[in-house]
Amino acid sequence: MKSARTMLGLLLLAATLAAAPARAGDSPEPAPPAPPCDVPGYLLSSESSLPKVTDVVKANQPLNVLVVGSRSSTIPGNEASAYPATMQAALKEAFPAANIDVSVELQGKSTAEETAGTLVKLVEAKKPTLVIWQTGTVDAMRAVDPDDFRTAINDGVVALRGAGADVVLVNLQYSPRTETMISAPPYLDNIKVVAQQHDVPLFDRFSIMKQWSDAGYFDLFSTAHGVDLAKKVHACLGRALAKFVIDAAHLGPVQQN
């Protein structure tokens, strides 16, 4: 019995070792010497497009971006370091001549369904070219029925398009500490489904942050109370989101290095 268990241990160890190269083979990126924000290309490119953004930027008209999201779209007390602001900075860097305005509409405790109902009014009031809709966290925490969630996102996207705006969807944060409490997968899947159905670019915040955590760029398990980590992560998210928008609007890579 005892030796059987020892052998089992060896067997599992061998399996682990065998699995390691297999996993490395999954991501064929040559992995250039990476700055901490590095994100694999496939996470920053989208088959979907943002025609209105493309037109506006090419015509040198002002680009109005509206970020609609919950509390994970900001850093309490440090709004200027949150990803909408860092994205704006990165966009300005990419198009120095353009007039880029980013406004943020936080709906801290609203589910996708509740937010979806407000979208048309928001678009009518602010006339954005692009709406970046971050959603899913509240729904996951409240364990909203994923089907209802999907319907809500669907309605929201249709409403936004109908009101004349381009849409980018942003999904949940990767939050390893609360993994045993919040079940993210059904919500991630359903956002993806809607994005595919309507050809909406989906900024996969979850996978990107997970990538950073796995690569060791950020210790997302950290219990640190300071805002340092949050600022760094948001700085990277903003830059990645700007790249993503530029790519989806087919405006790169002339301006991008």
Partner: protein, 417 residues
């Protein structure tokens, strides 16, 4: 414990044993049960495997996660678990019902339900301790929103009562409540099966269809729904029971046909390629949009047909290529797996606890992939060790007591969820 691996499950050779079952058959023409004392080691083996996989899937993604079946197809260990649980439960309590009558069987089932319920409450206590710790020690502003999930700690009275009512169920603790509900209905299922097994299965399929049509679900606390919808998942459980009570034997011709085999293989390969596109997003563009739109999302809550079919295909191939008298089943290499499968309720609970503990260690010690994998391996070794100790207790320490219990042995009855 008898280690004679005689037929329970349907397989081509099942007919050879018909004679042995004649006696039981005579009593209850509608359903058939194998002779007393038989133990189907394949069931233990795969239930043990399911326990290991569920444990690994409950830990944060790590190297070992790539060994679990959910990465290679639609279904995962939960399907295996619920099916085998239905199978073994029907096998044991079905016999109790034939021999002792409806009331005796129901009484035994209820005792088992109580055991599972107590196990669930025990796990909930540990969970509560874990998250209370996280709530007090973790204040990362990056996750100020996600930490809102701890709000229920402000109302411990309500939360605890809701947990006792099975309405408040943390992530990863959904399986036991599902199992409790399914077991509660087992007397009804067995009663119907005794009357007409095929009608029972038909009713189960009907309920499944109605669930999809009318979106039936059980609500949870503070809001939301049961992550495993019992109205849908009962299909696997009842199907397991139906197979145990003679259905598998009647299906043996279908199972041994080459056409079935090729359909299964083609489906599994197709499912594998679809899954591949999830993990290698660069391949995503190969998938035709039409198929994507038709297929996604693959709904785990309501046991998507694609998942059910995937499980059926896996099961059919397993029954075909792994005969019940395969000598490997008695080898010492598979012994740890089989032992885990034989004490499934205990090992399942231990697995959930170890997953919590693993999360905790990973959160406290910032370790790399190696530590992740090490934790998984340690967890599995602990599960095996515990299974070995439990079986030692049953067969050595409690020898006198266990002699009589062989028939109604709760573990044989597919404990654990």
């Amino acid at each position: 414990m008898s280690s004679i691996a005689d037929p329970i499950a349907g397989s081509p050779v099942a007919d050879a044993k018909t004679e042995a079952n004649a006696e039981v058959k005579a009593k209850a023409p509608a359903i058939t049960l194998p002779v007393t004392g038989e133990r189907e080691l394949r069931l233990d083996l795969f239930r043990g495997l399911a326990l290991w996989l569920i444990f690994i899937d409950h830990l944060p993604t790590n190297l070992l996660t790539w060994l679990t079946i959910r990465n290679y197809g639609f279904s995962d260990a939960t399907e295996i678990f619920i099916f085998i649980s239905g199978y073994t439960a029907a096998f044991v309590y079905g016999r109790a019902m034939l021999e002792g009558g409806f009331v005796i069987a129901t009484a035994r089932i209820l005792r088992r339900v109580w055991q599972i319920y107590v196990a669930h409450v025990f796990l909930f206590t540990i969970f509560l301790a874990e998250i209370s710790y996280v709530a007090t020690s973790f204040e990362n502003p990056l996750y100020s929103e996600e930490m809102g999930i701890m709000d229920f700690l402000k109302q411990p009275d309500v939360t605890i009562v809701q947990a006792l009512l099975l309405r408040f169920r943390p992530v990863n603790m959904d399986v036991l409540p599902l199992y409790i509900v399914l077991m509660l209905f087992l007397p009804l299922i067995l009663g119907l099966m005794k009357w007409k097994p095929d009608v029972t299965l038909g009713l189960s399929v009907l309920l499944y269809a109605l669930t999809w049509q009318f979106d039936l679900y059980l609500s949870a606390y503070p809001n939301g729904f049961w992550a495993f919808n019992p109205f849908a998942w009962q299909l696997l459980f009842v199907f397991g029971a139906w197979c145990a009570l003679g259905g598998a034997r009647r299906m043996s011709r279908i199972l041994s046909s080459n056409i079935t085999m090729w359909i299964c293989i083609v489906y599994l390969v197709a499912a594998f390629f679809v899954t591949l596109t999830w993990y290698v997003p660069q391949l995503g563009h190969i998938m035709p949009k039409v198929i994507e739109q038709w297929m996604y999302p693959i709904n785990k809550t309501d046991l998507d047909v694609l998942r059910f079919a995937h499980f059926l295909a896996l099961a059919a191939l397993t029954v075909r290529f792994l005969p019940r008298d395969w000598p490997g089943l008695k080898s010492r290499w598979l012994r740890p797996l089989i032992l885990c499968g034989q004490h499934s309720l205990e090992i399942f609970c231990l697995g959930v606890f170890l997953a919590f503990a693993g999360h905790f260690v990973l959160a406290e010690v910032s370790g790399g992939a190696a530590l992740h994998a090490l934790i998984s391996v340690c967890g599995i070794l602990i599960m095996c060790g515990m299974a070995w100790i439990i079986s030692w207790y049953k067969h050595s320490a409690d020898k006198g007591a266990s002699k009589k219990g062989a028939v109604g042995n709760a573990d044989l009855a597919g404990g654990g969820a």
